[in-house]
Symmetry: C2
Subunit: 307 residues, 2 copies
Amino acid sequence: MKWPASIRICEVGPRDGLQNEKVMLTVEQKVELIDRLVQAGAKMIEIGSFVHPKSVPPMADTDEVAKRIKRVEGVEYRVLVMNVRGLERAEAAGVHKAKLTVSASRAHSLSNLKRTPEEVIRSFAGCADYAAQHNIELSGAISTAFGCPFEGRVALEQVISVVSHFREFGVTELSLSDTTGMANPEQVYGYAIRVKEQFPDITWNLHFHNTRGMGLANVVAGMQAGIDRYDACFAGLGGCPFAPGASGNIATEDLIHMCHEMGIQTGCDLDAVLAVGRSVQQYIGHDSASFILKAGKCSDIVKRKKD
Amino acid sequence: MKWPASIRICEVGPRDGLQNEKVMLTVEQKVELIDRLVQAGAKMIEIGSFVHPKSVPPMADTDEVAKRIKRVEGVEYRVLVMNVRGLERAEAAGVHKAKLTVSASRAHSLSNLKRTPEEVIRSFAGCADYAAQHNIELSGAISTAFGCPFEGRVALEQVISVVSHFREFGVTELSLSDTTGMANPEQVYGYAIRVKEQFPDITWNLHFHNTRGMGLANVVAGMQAGIDRYDACFAGLGGCPFAPGASGNIATEDLIHMCHEMGIQTGCDLDAVLAVGRSVQQYIGHDSASFILKAGKCSDIVKRKKD
């Protein structure tokens, strides 16, 4: 097996994690978490989304959050948007990176947005124009890229079709998202190898949920396919409505811990990230599916015994 | 990545799982679980241990369990023993496969048994003689083969030293056990490749705990090294005293689910194994760290949506 010397982690907690919580954090709490994550070494961070406040209430204050966070040179602060209105809010808040999401599954797309994946992507054409005019960089995320609660396993051809559409208007950074934790390592490796081959000019990112325990195994498979960018979420928050109570995104601290144990650099200070995870659990008021927050690092038990 | 066409799972729940529980199951419950597991396709099953009843009270009834289970042709019923006395009990109960465990870590061995790994192995010499005379097949398990709470990362040389000693008295089936959930995929792959190369006549098995979320990732790494035997525990029971409350062994149902999703055969009926897992949770009276028992199979959510 070949391992990357380093990987780049995109922290999606402030968006994908917090949008699933009942407790809404204050702007101050969000800003504090984001600033601490950046201080801990995060170079890519999804700070929120500019979507309709009624559809995702916990993200309604993203404008305010974006304005108050400390901007550190070299850090990519990103938001999720669905349309030009979202990009206008990004522009107003001084955010220059935005992510557009399309489902690879037709049924999932119809269920969520009442539009087919193709219709959703077509609606993004205006976004591409606006982004180009306002110096906003766009990236894309393909949700249900491996499995879908309606269709089951999602065919690679559907994923490739969405990728092609994204490329048509110049997006060169894409994420394959296992929205409902249905991907397995064999599939991840196969899909990743194939999209990399077919679209060598695209920068690939993978997004896994640990719903069925395969999260880090899928990261290992992605690494073998040569992908070195992974989303992760503080304290392992997030989830999917189809498996209530199940684990959410792979936890940032679990991913960093595994990488460091393997000699793979992340640029992150694990202890500082763990401290953020503990604050997150305190703010949301409940435990979460993070292994290292529960079990401690490998080095902890050795240290404890030596004391 | 290359995947095995099939793997062989050794169910260690009745021993490694139940010995860690406060609630002691009755002989009837144990026999029922074992018989159901075999019916569900288990071909290797660790039914208990013949150690001193006072040191592991939940295993004190293993003699009785061994006598009452249905014996199915082609299924390997195995017990853990520590000495000739254990083998005598195995012989009396009609069990013809026994496992001897040694720690690769000197500090761990001294702490647990007040003897060095070498002294423990030397004490097994009598077992080899007894087993040969009574037609009992011996296998070995090397605990703390990757990491140890006292020493940290365990050097491959220590593992190889223990392997060599085991081979001296004819054991040709060995398991590398990540007793405290400290192994990582890079290490698993490296150690597995090396022991396979150096001891090609030994049948290798891997035993992982999911303490730090890397359990199935480690299985993937083991598969890449060409190992096709893995321990797993019903409902994900088991654990380690150094990380109280943390996840235990990789859950049998999670491992089967991942393999089947990947097109890897296990010979097991996942639904039947899940039913056993639910009974186990009911008998022990609490929830446990099993992903599939919580989230359901990938195919479940698709089915539910179609109904």
